[in-house]
């Protein structure tokens, strides 16, 4: 018992000192709102681009858009100007912010906005918002984004995390402290060998860029990253819809006379047990029904047999031939719709 008391006493001192020092050094006030703090800067680069280029059609999506659609070829085939906002690593949170803070704020509004997505991405607000993705999201966020904080962060926290986020300074400061510890360890030995911080960062960037990965390791890494989209919670369309940006995105577009078109693209990353499961099929059907009810156009290439295995570069990205085939499919459907 004495040992337990010694431990409790020292731990209490550590927590008390950190609870005084951290707010003092960081300027944070407690209790605070749960969720991350957003910086004051907000990028609005697409406002200028839209004004300059006045595209009739804007495409938005992640690296699957970059690899999957040739915007020039699409423009040529449908005889309309096209601008592509393809941001690798982006997902519904970032698309919502760009729509709200850039496209809707621009004096020039495109006629059509195509959002290319994979499977449950539209109703997964917690996908690609943590870690290094947060920096990207923060770039396009205003100082206050209550919906973003609620949908992408607070809704995903358990009650214990919410309490810790509000009242526990050490918990709030954990990312910064951990970053300092990691940096001290990471740069220590290379510096002794004459490689400074820039040199170390360059080497790490080069190594961690994803090249030279063992094929199975690459497939596993992609599948692990994507697995979030196929968890039972994410495939429950009805419960996810109200917690997602999808209704707000449709509303913002409608308010700005922009016709939204959602494009589900094909991927090979998901386990066939999941994509063949009734739960997944229900999700896809519910999404289609919802968009039809909202009178929003929806192109579903998710299981299109014309996009064969040989057209993929890896489990989620199309190769050059795949890009040409998919651009042609999309342009045909767009042409029919616009007609």
């Amino acid at each position: 018992m004495r040992f337990f008391l010694k431990f409790s006493l020292i731990l209490s001192i550590i927590l008390a000192v950190s609870s005084i020092m951290i707010p003092r050094n960081t300027g944070m006030e407690f209790p605070r709102e749960a969720g991350p703090s957003l910086d004051k800067q907000m990028r609005q680069n697409y406002i200028d681009i839209l004004v300059e280029q006045e595209p009739e059609i804007v495409l938005m999506g992640d690296s699957t858009l970059v690899n999957g659609v040739d915007a020039d070829l699409l423009a040529q085939r449908i005889d309309k100007s096209v601008y592509s906002i393809g941001i690798p690593g982006s997902a519904s949170a970032l698309w919502y912010l760009i729509l709200k803070n850039n496209i809707a704020e621009s004096p020039y509004k495109p006629k059509y906005l195509l959002i290319l997505f994979r499977d449950s991405m539209l109703t997964a607000p917690g996908y690609r918002v943590h870690g290094s993705y947060f920096d990207l999201v923060d770039e396009y966020a205003a100082r206050r984004e209550p919906e973003l904080i609620q949908y992408s962060f607070v809704n995903l926290m358990n009650p214990l995390e919410i309490v810790a986020e509000r009242y526990f300074p050490l918990y709030i400061a954990r990312a910064g402290i951990r970053g300092s510890i990691d940096s001290s360890i990471r740069y220590f030995a290379p510096q002794l060998a004459g490689c400074d911080r820039n040199c170390t960062d360059y080497a790490m960037g080069d190594i961690f860029s994803g090249a030279d990965l063992e094929p199975n390791a690459l497939v596993d890494a992609v599948a692990a990253a994507e697995s979030y989209l196929y968890s039972p919670d994410q495939l429950d369309f009805d419960s996810q819809l109200a917690r997602s940006y999808l209704p707000m995105m449709i509303e913002i577009a409608a308010e700005n006379n922009i016709q939204m078109i959602f494009v589900r693209i094909k991927v090979e990353s998901a386990d066939s047990r999941i994509t063949n499961s009734p739960g997944f099929k229900d999700y896809i059907n519910s999404l289609g029904d919802y968009l039809a009810n909202k009178k929003v156009q929806y192109f579903d290439y998710g299981s299109d047999p014309r996009l064969t295995h040989d057209l993929f570069r890896d489990s989620i990205h199309l190769n050059e031939r795949g890009q040409a085939v998919f651009t042609q499919l999309l342009s045909d459907d767009l042409k029919n719709m616009i007609k």
Binding site: K6, I14, L15, L156, M204, E214
Partner: protein, 467 residues
């Protein structure tokens, strides 16, 4: 449900309160059994059905051995067929499923959905060994089978141990299940250091080093230097990860009034391969020793065919470690890893170095440690390699260092390994020289604060859960 998840915290709190509110042993056992099945079914409901059916089968077979001793061997044979058959089917099915899948496709049967649905139920390897140990002991007459299906089921399904051990012997756990348990604060005083260390080793050490280890073992053609750094990192990761699981399992069991077995005793201080296996995954080593190694050695000694000394020394460890490798996974790297240790144990015995080696000087001791530690790290390189071709390529076909980037990444991996090893080294020194001191209390308090800093809601699973 991982021990480090919020779901588990809620589950355990509810169980803890219910369990201690009730004082009657049978009801406590019933609650624990129900909780164990809920815990197990959390991943896949049908896993619990498989568990229940296999418990019932072995309970009846053990009762059969007792009531009908003449047919003892038949009952034991049936149990072996059922247990090893189920384990072999689930564990090695996926190993062969690719080829079975292709064969079925050739005759026009699309079996993908069925084949993919056969997944290894978590913990099957662990509870199968638990049941087999019980059955063999009953068959040998060294253990009286329990009359209570409830007690036997709880022994097998006991949730702190069902996913990744320790592989508890019936002689230790069953008497505790059969005795009354009343809450005492001593349980808390014994459990909290295990819980703090379990969370610390998993969240702070294992998860941190995992990032760089995964990257190195994910390269298509790593250099020899990177392989060495990755293997060192993985040596730390697997020790921290697996011993964390054991600590949490023991702490959780202690808070319910059960004292369970330790699985690790400073394994990286070993001087010989036998010494290593006496310190690493102790409950598995003991199981393999008692039910595989000794019976093989006894059979060889009693055999009419006289083998030469080399063979009689080599066969038992080779066979035992081959089975150990196979038990760890359906892959050639695991089999090679098992055989590697079999060869090492036999080689040490050939040259006359016993498991309880006591070098006469500090230099000899340091040398023996360095040699054994190198063998251990190389063993983990085999274990963690994606496949044998990859390992061969990294060892023989790539330069030791290829570029400055390799050197930088290797140095970072080495620094991380050293930095995250330090807490474990300090802990073992404190345990040895300064137990229950203010220094050790401060160590635990700092570890608890670091857990808060390193906690991450998206924590990865324990490595040994997959076995």
């Amino acid at each position: 449900m991982s021990f480090t998840s919020y779901d588990f915290l809620l589950f355990y709190l509810i169980l803890f309160i219910l369990y201690w509110v009730i004082h009657e042993r049978r009801w406590q056992n019933l609650i624990l059994l129900a909780a164990s099945f809920v815990f197990y079914a959390w991943m896949q409901a049908w896993y619990a059905l498989l568990l229940g059916a296999s418990i019932l089968a072995d309970f009846l077979l053990a009762r059969g051995m007792r009531s009908n001793p003449v047919r003892n061997k038949q009952f034991m044979g049936m149990s072996l067929i059922v247990n090893i058959g189920v384990l072999a089917f689930f564990k090695y099915f996926s190993f062969f499923s690719g080829s079975v899948d292709n064969a079925l496709e050739n005759i026009g049967i699309h079996a993908d959905a069925f084949l993919l649905a056969i997944l290894l139920p978590a913990g099957l390897s662990f509870f199968t060994l638990k049941k087999l140990g019980y059955m063999i002991d009953v068959s040998r007459g060294t253990l009286q089978p329990t009359h209570s299906l409830l007690d036997f089921a709880l022994y097998v399904a006991f949730f702190p141990q069902i996913i990744a051990g320790p592989i508890e012997r019936p002689q230790k756990l069953l008497p505790q299940i059969e005795s009354a348990r009343i809450w005492t604060a001593e349980y808390l005083y014994e459990a909290w250091p295990l819980l703090v260390m379990g969370f610390f080793k998993k969240l702070v050490i294992a998860n941190s080093i995992k990032v760089i280890v995964d990257r190195i073992f994910g390269f298509s053609e790593p250099t020899g230097f990177l392989l060495m750094c990755g293997a060192l990192g993985f040596s730390l990761q697997i020790l921290a990860d697996f011993s964390a699981y054991t600590d949490l399992s023991r702490g959780i069991a202690l808070l319910l009034g059960f004292k369970t077995s330790e699985n690790f005793n400073l394994p990286y201080t070993s001087l010989t391969p036998t010494d290593f296996w006496n310190r690493w995954h102790i409950t598995l080593s003991n199981w393999l020793r008692d039910y595989i190694f000794f019976p093989i050695r006894r059979a060889l000694m009693q055999s009419r065919i006289k083998l030469n000394d080399s063979l009689s020394i080599s066969i038992p460890p080779l066979a035992t470690m081959f089975i150990s490798g196979l038990w760890h996974g359906a892959g050639w790297t695991y089999i090679l890893w098992g055989l590697y240790y079999g060869v090492l144990i036999a080689a040490y015995q050939w040259i006359g170095i016993r498991g309880d080696l006591k070098p006469t000087s500090k230099i000899k001791s340091a040398l023996a440690w360095l040699v054994m530690f190198t063998f251990i790290v190389f063993g983990w390189a085999i274990f963690r390699a994606p496949n044998i071709h990859w390992l061969g390529n990294a060892l023989f076909n790539t330069p030791f260092i290829n570029s400055q980037n390799d050197l930088v990444l290797g140095l970072i991996a080495l620094t991380m390994t050293l930095a995250y090893s330090l807490p474990l080294i300090i802990k073992s020194l404190l345990d040895r020289y300064s137990k229950d001191s203010w220094g050790q209390a401060a160590y635990y308090a700092i570890a608890a604060a670091l857990i808060v800093i390193y906690i991450n809601s998206a924590s990865s699973d324990f490595i040994y859960v997959q076995f």
